[in-house]
Amino acid sequence: MSQIETISGRGIPLVGADIDTDRIIPARFLRSITFEGLGQQVFVDDRTQANGQHSFDLPQYQGAKILVVNGNFGCGSSREHAPQAIIKWGIQAIVGESFAEIFLGNCSANGIPCVTAAPETVKQLQTWLQENPQKAIDLDLAAMEVRWGDSSAAIYMGEGPRQMLLTGTWDTCGQLLQNRDRIESTASQLPYLAWSH
């Protein structure tokens, strides 16, 4: 598990509010016992309808690492298939106006920062990316800023997920298991465990 401090790479804008996880990965692709192959199916219905004009199909954005979205991105279902599909397409970080909570948690658990920025910053960045698809942007989680061209702006994220990325502890499983004794002592204080199974 690596420490994640700065992500640098080309960006891809995806304009639109309330893009839900059913759009990110339609339910029919959840009929699998693995997360394999989801990268090809990401946004598949939106892409079909956009007839080649969806950001994820435009040649200039192939190989991009940083996705720039608008408000309430990832709302809806808890399916981790959604971040998995985005990750498998090649995305390593997401900047947006706001994120749905379960989606954000799923990204964090996979070492993918979801950072928010002011709506005007997101808009500027999306416009700049439309004009400069080949130029890299930097997402700096230590300084909490995003840098592009000659500009920079503040980014925000919860301190918990941020620390987990910075210290390389975003895969929580091992960490949680270290506290076995405390887990059992907490359980012993819960009256219902005695009567509810």
Partner: protein, 467 residues
């Protein structure tokens, strides 16, 4: 910061440790799993050589992919069959209780846990499904998680989480005839927005919720997530206790009194502090339907579809997207919109009282020509109880199909799907683009009673006119 709420009390009781990141390691009292979001979690455990720490605190069932017509094994859909077998094997290998098809206890995970009394006040409950908020109806802190978190719960019975703020949503007054719990929550989401609840737990309080049955409360809490709130809850009271009494997993004998006393103690204090409060009047709520592509795009059935000018600036882009996708015109009535498919079911509205209420309107009526209408009970137990009351015959005589339990067309992972541009009246919870199985299919969310009205008229209708 909130203080003295049920959320604070239950959170504190379940706190194992504050992690170096500042997040809380939270003990999970009940873990529910199903076939879609668990196989990868079990695979991760195997890869890491880990075991399920407390298999007795996890309960499994199968709901998302099950066909609702022919449930004979192997399923016609090979992928669904593979998922089914993976869950059967994982449950068996790890010693996890599994309610399989035909057990009499299978059904939508958020229907079966409450009906068996597994869901209780004061618990923390997690499940790899966003509608886990349903269980908050009992005064539990219940929320949806992703697959990596399912892995964490299986391995450690805990999760790393940031504490939520608490918003009290108070609704007072009596609901008019024909107005249901579904209308209340659609109204709340319409007012507070689909992202209004991000970062919050919703506490539903006030006389309107107090007067609701447990099943109605579940409908409300179920859709908290549609308003952005990962969990929603209602303080436990006599209605809660009466529902739980004598359920399979409810405390018995001397434990019962101890349990009730404890459940009382975890209620939000009278002087509890909330991060925010929003208040609504029940008399302002009429039968509500969605007209767009988010659950927040709702309207009273007698209103006109909102025009751009009447919407806040921030909602106009998504409204425009919705007019186009739905092919509905701003400034026109929703009433009279032609309906192709009517679906009654889901974890929102697939319980016995939902079916009873729907049957009341369906009795002696006929589904309009050209409309496909079907009822999917939320669980095997709901189906059995409904049949014992003859609800199946009422629906079938009216022209509805009567199906086997499952999630069905709510998310269309099974063969129940919209075709092409079909417009559906649905008692489910999401009207997202493509949600019901066709990438161009359209969904109008409404109460089960309103779905019956739409089925009978062949178009969106006001259920109050059928009263």
């Amino acid at each position: 910061m909130s203080k003295g709420t049920l959320f604070d009390k239950v959170w504190d009781l379940h706190t194992v440790k504050i992690l170096p990141s500042g997040q809380t390691q939270l003990f999970i009292g009940l873990h529910l799993i199903h076939e879609v979001t668990s196989p990868q979690a079990f695979a991760m455990l195997r890869d890491r050589g880990l075991k399920v720490l407390h298999p007795e605190r996890t309960v499994a069932t199968v709901d998302h992919i099950v066909p609702t017509d022919n449930q004979a094994r192997p399923f016609a859909d090979e992928l669904a069959e593979e998922m089914m077998q993976a869950l059967e094997n994982n449950a068996k290998d790890c010693g996890i209780r599994f309610y399989n098809i035909g057990s009499g206890k299978q059904g939508i995970v958020h229907v079966i846990a409450p009906e068996q009394g597994l869901t209780q006040p004061g618990m923390t409950i997690a499940c790899g499904d966003s509608h886990t908020s349903t269980h908050g109806a009992f005064g539990a802190i219940a929320f949806g998680i992703g697959t990596s978190q399912v892995r964490d719960v299986l391995a450690s019975q805990t999760l790393a989480l940031s504490k939520l703020k608490v918003r009290k949503i108070e609704v007072n007054g009596t609901l008019a005839p024909g107005v249901y719990a579904k209308d209340v929550i659609l109204h709340v989401i319409r007012q507070l927005g689909v992202k209004g609840g991000v970062g919050y737990a919703y506490e539903f309080a006030g006389t309107t919720f107090e007067a609701m049955s447990m099943e109605e409360r579940m409908t409300v809490c179920n859709m908290s997530i549609e308003g952005g709130a990962r969990c929603g809850y209602i303080n436990p009271d006599e209605v809660t206790f009466a529902y739980l009494k004598n359920r399979d997993f409810a405390p018995k004998d001397a434990d019962w009194d101890k349990a009730v006393a404890w459940w009382q103690s975890i209620r939000s204090d009278a002087d509890a502090v909330y991060d925010d409060v929003a208040t609504f009047d029940a008399s302002d709520i009429e039968p509500t339907v969605t007209w767009g592509i988010t659950p927040g795009q709702g309207m009273g059935v007698s209103e006109l579809i909102p025009t751009l000018e009447t919407l806040p600036e921030s909602e106009r882009a998504i409204a425009q997207e919705a007019y186009q996708y739905m092919a509905l015109n701003p400034g026109t009535p929703i009433k009279g919109t032609k309906i192709d498919v009517c679906f009654i079911g889901s974890c929102t509205n697939g319980r016995l009282s939902d079916l009873r209420e729907a049957a009341k309107y369906a009795e002696g009526k006929q589904v309009a020509t050209g409309v496909k209408a079907f009822v999917v009970p939320g669980s095997e137990r709901v189906k059995q109880e409904a049949e014992a009351e003859g609800l199946d015959r009422i629906f079938q005589q009216a022209g509805f199909e009567w199906r086997e339990p499952g999630c069905s067309m709510c998310l269309a992972m099974n063969p129940d799907k919209l075709q092409g541009r079909q417009m559906s009246a649905s008692s489910s919870n999401r009207n997202f683009k493509g949600r019901q199985g066709s990438s161009t299919g359209r969904t109008l969310l409404m109460s089960p009673a309103m779905v019956v009205a739409a089925a009978v008229k062949g178009e969106v209708a006001d259920v109050r006119e059928l009263l």
